[in-house]
Symmetry: C2
Subunit: 336 residues, 2 copies
DNA sequence: TAGCCGAAATGAAACGATTCATTCAGGCAT
DNA sequence: ATGCCTGAATGAATCGTTTCATTTCGGCTA
């Protein structure tokens, strides 16, 4: 029960606590014989470093926080994996926080991470977190925005050009002859949604004969997509769109499930469908899903990389903004 | 830069550090006026508790570790979500560790969690972790096995009866008239895989005319499934199985992708296919996937619940073993 | 007015690892 | 034999919070 401390190890090995610490952290500074003796004592007593004490002294922890909008979205688990890969290389652990579109949870996680004095924070922000992030930075905790840029550009970011992605998607739908496009996505408070819509608008604007309507959803989930799909189904056939651009693949899969439910509609003939993110399951959907691919793992990896660089240079850092380009992936749902 | 401590707050509010701590933790013990003064100082200085110091004093941290086999598997993100839900109710955070079928990573995460003095550990074990878990328990850190029971039953666990699930799946395939069943899964060092196969064997044993072969994979991923599917495709038509039971849905989706690639095979007519886990994407697959459903979110929730109970009673605890029953979900891939 | 009580506030000790200025011992040159 | 140098080891101070035995003080009773 009573925890074994460096003191116990020192006593057992017949050395001072300072030496034990040196064996732990700078073994080359200690004579080989002593190292062996101390290590034997450590193994003997089953000593395990208390990270809290170490952190207290060091002033910061050895983990970094990642706050995402939705862990159930494979896009974010891919980002998380990339982040974990880079973090592990540096001996850091990743704390994963899930906001689930809740401002309260986002704030709670940021507070938690601040109390933990994490090494850095990666966040795909939902609300306005400028104040909290500024405070974190003042404390010396670097922050990188994931999948989004802030307006003031004072924080580093790794993002994908969502406007370009929206443009790609809508342009593709137009190019296969669709004229009544519906954009399914929401809530519109989420930046990614707004940008993708904006891109679609730009692409459609070039073609006067093509219309674009917006069907807003309250989340970016399969369930919300199904609800949107049902809404479309309820309409008179002539009133339905002939193409749907969903703000992400989860929504698209939901829409697809709803459209297929009655069996009277054919995708892509009656309604073409394109999603966003190109998650692994998109290719395996009922009707393999066209999508806009983002380099998700790379995004996570790069974000941590930026974070580490920022932590290294300290005060003198210049925010960096890395923007990846999205890519169109055509499959059956738009008639590949 | 210099971090604000309780000392600074105390000085600013004209009280002692003890009082500041009381305001933070037991405001009812402090007179209203003082509480207000201290809180004003806290807000003023932007003081944020240092969790490391708090933990050091408390002896344990306020987070708990969850080690899963694969975060990219929606089954585990569901478990994680359930765990997070219960943990949040208790003001605890969840540290998510991903082993990715690597023994080294599993060990590394356990070490990390031990150094962090986490409140408890949930683990879906890969290798033999008995020693490490025993040590953790000796230190007073409760452990709950997720989705698996140990042989010695000395650790609490929350699991689903995988043998029953395997039986369900195989029995279903037999009942729709299939006679040459292939089990796709691996590595066979993973308990869940072994159990599901065992269940299938039991079900098949009752029908002398039905054969069961095993196609071992090196992972439980979409990619591994695709490889297995290609293996089947390469065979002469008469030599192929007429039904495939995949050890999880990711594998099943991979198999499905491979089988559909050439377009010469029809699922379920030529080959029926059933997966395991019933992840959200199973219903949306090219051919909607039959599967064995597990109460994933509930598993995570219950596991944390068990953990908390164990932490409360301390030394006198009795390991509990909760076993949920799986459920057959029939869809088109087995001819619904 | 002395004595007592309880609520409120105090502040030193403790948690455990790390750091760094200091001490120690042995070897080498003078 | 003396002084100097270097590599090795020491141990007190430190990080920031919490705890708890002790002190303070205003009010109340006898």
């Amino acid at each position: 029960m009573a925890s074994i401390s460096v003191n116990d190890v020192a006593a057992a090995a017949g050395v001072s606590v300072g030496t034990v610490s040196n064996v732990l952290n700078r073994p080359e500074k200690v004579s080989p014989g002593t190292v062996a003796r101390v290590q034997a004592a450590i193994a003997d007593l089953g000593f395990v470093r208390n990270d809290a004490a170490r952190q207290l002294r060091a002033g910061r922890s050895r983990s970094l926080g990642l706050i995402v909008l939705d862990v159930a979205n494979p896009f974010f688990t891919d980002v998380a994996r990339g982040a974990e890969d880079r973090a592990t290389e540096e001996g850091l652990a990743v704390l994963l926080g899930n906001t689930d579109d809740s401002l309260a949870r986002e704030a709670a996680y940021l507070d938690l991470f601040e109390e933990q004095r994490v090494h850095g924070v990666l966040i795909s922000p939902l609300g306005d977190v400028g104040d909290r992030l500024t405070r974190l930075r003042a404390r010396g905790t670097p922050t990188v925005l994931v999948d989004r840029q802030t307006e003031d550009r004072s924080f580093s970011s790794v993002a994908v050009d969502d406007v370009a992605g929206g443009r790609l998607a809508a342009h593709h739908l137009v190019s296969i002859g669709k004229t009544r496009i519906a954009f399914v996505g929401g809530p519109i408070s989420i930046r990614q949604v707004v940008d993708r819509l904006e891109g679609a608008r730009e692409a459609v604007a070039k073609h006067p004969s093509v219309s674009l309507e917006v069907i807003e959803t309250d989340a970016l989930s399969v369930l919300a997509g199904r609800a949107a799909g049902e809404l479309v189904l309820e309409r008179a056939p002539g009133d339905r769109p002939d193409a749907i651009f969903a703000a992400n693949d989860l929504l698209a899969i939901g829409v697809l499930q709803a459209l297929n439910m009655r069996g009277e509609l054919h995708v892509p003939r009656d309604i073409a469908l394109i999603g966003y993110d190109d998650i692994a399951f998109a290719a395996a959907a009922v009707v393999p899903l066209s999508s806009i691919r983002q380099p998700s793992v790379l995004i996570g990896y790069t974000a941590v990389d930026l974070l580490l660089r920022e932590a290294e240079v300290g005060d003198t850092f210049e925010p960096e903004h890395i923007v990846f380009q999205p890519e169109l992936v055509v499959r059956e749902s738009t008639g590949a």
